[in-house]
Assembly symmetry: C2
Homo-oligomer: 527 residues x 2
């Protein structure tokens, strides 16, 4: 029987508070003991990935308490309930089914009169067929010429995830000779965004993917009009250049304005939609459906591992628990995500939405204010770039920021140079290894300005290479981590009521229905 | 007589602590009082910009205390000392002269036997002449063909600032018919970064700008070799395709490997170098020297305004003081920078370095640990994109994050569409106005999940349009803000000792001279 209870009412919470200062990183990571921790404190993931948490402020006793928390908070049971189709998004009274887009984890889930796994697979098949017909020249522009570019029009989850995944696999796909269309993205309502993308492409050979679940997103519909306008001005028929990704109940679904429509539903939140048609259409067009299928497989593999009730064998669950320890017990307000891979340059921006929109809440799932802190602020840039930017504060600032590194043994393009006997890839790896130790152990110095206090915790996910499979696994790891943390905090990670007020007020401004400070600001901005 | 003293020893510190909870945003921003605050609480800047701080948790009494702090901490005097050539970077015993790259603010500054303003102007002139000769076809590749692309090779300050400025002016320059070369950037030591850029350009018509002050930056020298290798493989002579931006004392300065060399010096920190040749060469090549000159003029105008000892007429100083109030008195650990302009998409990443590398310190300028917190963590993405991402946490999360908005009345490209009677630019402006009020005042609701507590402070810089001048002014505003905060905190904002340890350890890994955990991590990463 599942019980939803506040984190601070668990026995584990009290126990963990007593262990707050138990582990001093500088001490435990020194010498041979440190090497033993690196060997011991890791959890194998799927597709060549490993989660290593040796440089976190935990030891066997803390881990034991965290395992107790996992049990007490029924993390595995709640995940099971979720993928078996219980209404876990209680605020909006919805199922949460994004894992079903990539695999069947439990029993068949029926909703809206259909088997939802069949529904998602069916839409993927539609997208794959469509992409193949575009690639083989069956679907062309009115002049019978092949489309060369695909442009996603969407914002938030319809933009950040798919864009991050596209950037992550762009080099890989070109190198591996995949079917290839260049992808571009229009998201911001700022007219310079759409205009700039349109000025930079050949619209006559471009296919636009309009993505809005509700079919009512202000930015997306505005940008659609922007694009249609440009197509018409170029003497082209917009309906020959556009497809829609939406829900079956949206006004876009039955419209004749689109070459085709692909469906998602209310059980897939925007920030969890990269593995639905929201990511599937653009990625299948860009790289071919087989690449997208491999990405889904990677995510599915990781979803299966997340079922394990033992955190010591479940990287997403353990990562979640350590994050809770850092947020609630150690009181660290921020977490940085630092991939040592240029291909993952926008992955932190995606995780920023995934995490902060899911767990940036102040009330529990029953609408009661929670007395403890919840999701952290997330930011990040790829290394080694970040080392020459904000790492100064991370090393010597007054606020400790836990770090989440990602690194790979091999590059994607396998183009490298040997300088001073090492490759660039080796230099990249050497830097992340060095940073972990510099953050953990610091360095004493006679000059206080050159002293590093250490005690900055980090984990690293190490992979063989960033492939469609490992990317999918990485994505699922973080989705599941965020889900488990939401379970611990007893919040609903699947709604986002905090985005509504701004929308309402913006409409009021546009209708010139304002007074007081809102009118004053509108006047200053010449609206 | 200038006195460097710790913030907590000032009378203002005690006074401000007593005012911590004086202003309740929800109350003061409501009704006509709110409108009056919007009208009253603004400071004119240069080049059409205005700094509006109505939605900050201040009132006349708090502002009075902040003005007292400015006087007590001698902010204007310290700035004067800086631009007159005193050794303000005491740790490295260096002058701090980036403002001299764009104007003469005080007396002539001599160092290394020359008038430094003349030196910077001379190098700008060299860069301008060079760019013009490239544009008019005097300087070509070996086949006598014009260069069409410029690629900056640099990291940290040699990358983030110039890249953000390039993106900010790209649309503007194309629209305004400037001399135009496409710019690309290689920064990361990840071989996929250089390989990907090289695969995407026509190297035969590309000019590479190698930027390293010391001439020893690992990433940059590695990427230079990478690029030279590619040029040679294409049958090209690298020395016909490369220029250097470095210091006169660096090993690169006298090398025959470059078509030309442009100089900066030790008095310009990397993160303050956008207005030196580090930004000047690439931006003059990309957009023409006259655009870069206009950018410098905007920055110089703002530097002049920053001389005003009265914070109520000095936006950078006031912004700094309010930031200190938020960091030290209100104890907010993070600040978000949210430009409502897609062209400023990488401006937050630049500010992240500028701020966190400058003020992420724990010791004062005498090397003594400071007992108060210093620079905040900075992150941000452009609006309205962020609204569909992390704003959920900003509105309803447990941690209050002060916000720094930027907005413009007009778009850059002036391409817009009218939908439901409003343009996209109006929708953009309506959104930022709405967000400010939603954050400040929140909204009560019967459903706690739909309740917004408000009390989230923000400021906004409003401009007419993002032009070279207003971009320069914006950059200088933030540089000067960070400088003033460093003065208040009594820290050295111009060194970055925190980046050293990682470099040393990485070299040790590459030399296989490690043991313990560092060796264990290196093994896991296959180095």
């Amino acid at each position: 029987m599942i019980e939803w209870k506040n984190f601070d009412t668990t026995a584990a919470y009290a126990k963990l508070n007593g262990l707050k200062d138990k582990v001093v990183l500088k001490e435990v990571m020194a010498g041979e003991n440190g090497a033993e921790r690196v060997a011991k404190y890791q959890v194998p993931m799927s597709n060549g990935l490993t989660y290593n948490f040796a440089a976190k402020e935990v030891d066997d006793e803390v881990l034991d308490a965290l395992c107790g928390l996992a049990k007490e908070a029924q993390l595995a049971e709640k995940y099971e309930a979720l993928y078996n189709g219980e209404v876990v998004n209680t605020g909006e009274k919805r199922l949460v089914l994004h894992q079903l887009t990539r695999g069947q984890l439990g029993r068949d889930v029926f909703a809206d009169g259909v088997n939802k796994r069949d529904f998602y697979v069916g839409e993927q098949k539609k997208a794959a067929d469509f992409a193949e017909r575009v690639h083989n020249g069956e679907i062309t522009n009115a002049a019978g010429e092949k489309f060369t570019t695909v442009v996603q029009i969407g914002i938030g989850g319809s933009d950040l995830g798919p864009r991050a995944m596209y950037i992550a696999l762009d080099n890989w796909a070109r190198k591996n000779g995949c079917s290839y269309m260049e992808a571009r993205f229009i998201s911001n309502v700022d007219p310079d965004d759409a205009a700039s993308v349109l000025n930079g492409i050949d619209v006559a050979h471009s296919l636009f993917v309009l993505v809005s679940k509700s079919g009512t997103t202000l930015e997306t519909l505005t940008n659609e009009s922007f694009v249609k306008d440009a197509l018409k001005k170029a003497g082209l028929d917009p309906s020959r250049h556009m497809v829609a990704v939406t829900s079956e109940t949206s006004p876009l679904a039955a419209s004749k304005d689109y070459l085709a429509a692909f469906f998602m539903d209310d059980y897939i939140g925007g920030r969890y939609s990269s593995s639905s048609c929201v990511g599937g259409v653009v990625l299948s067009l860009a790289f071919g459906p087989e690449v997208f299928a491999r990405f889904l497989k990677g995510a599915a593999d990781e979803d299966v591992l997340a079922k394990n009730p033992d955190p010591m064998q479940n990287s997403a669950m353990l990562d979640a628990l350590i994050g809770v320890f850092e947020r609630n017990i150690k009181d660290y307000p921020v977490t940085a995500v630092l991939p040592y891979s240029q291909a993952l340059s926008r992955f932190p921006a995606h995780l920023q939405q995934l995490d902060m929109e899911s767990n940036g809440k102040s009330v529990n799932r029953f609408g009661e204010p929670v007395p403890y802190v919840t999701g952290p602020i997330i930011f990040g840039e790829p290394g080694t770039n970040g080392q020459h930017s904000f790492y100064q504060l991370l090393h010597q600032g007054k606020t400790i920021v836990p770090l989440q590194f990602v690194g790979f043994k091999n590059s994607q393009l396998h183009q490298d140079v040997l300088i001073q006997n090492t490759t660039s890839q080796q230099k990249l790896g050497a830097n992340v290894a060095a940073q972990i130790m510099a953050f953990a152990c610091g360095k004493d110095d006679e000059n206080p300005n050159k002293t590093f206090a250490g005690g900055r915790p980090s984990s690293i996910i190490i992979g063989e290479e960033l492939t469609p499979e490992s990317l999918g696994a990485l994505l699922a790891h973080f989705e599941n981590k965020v889900m488990f943390q939401g379970f611990v905090w007893n919040i609903n990670s699947f709604d986002q009521e905090g985005v509504q007020l701004g929308k309402v007020l913006a409409q009021r401004v546009l209708a010139h229905n304002t007074d007081g400070a809102l009118k004053a600001y509108s006047d200053l901005l010449n609206i």
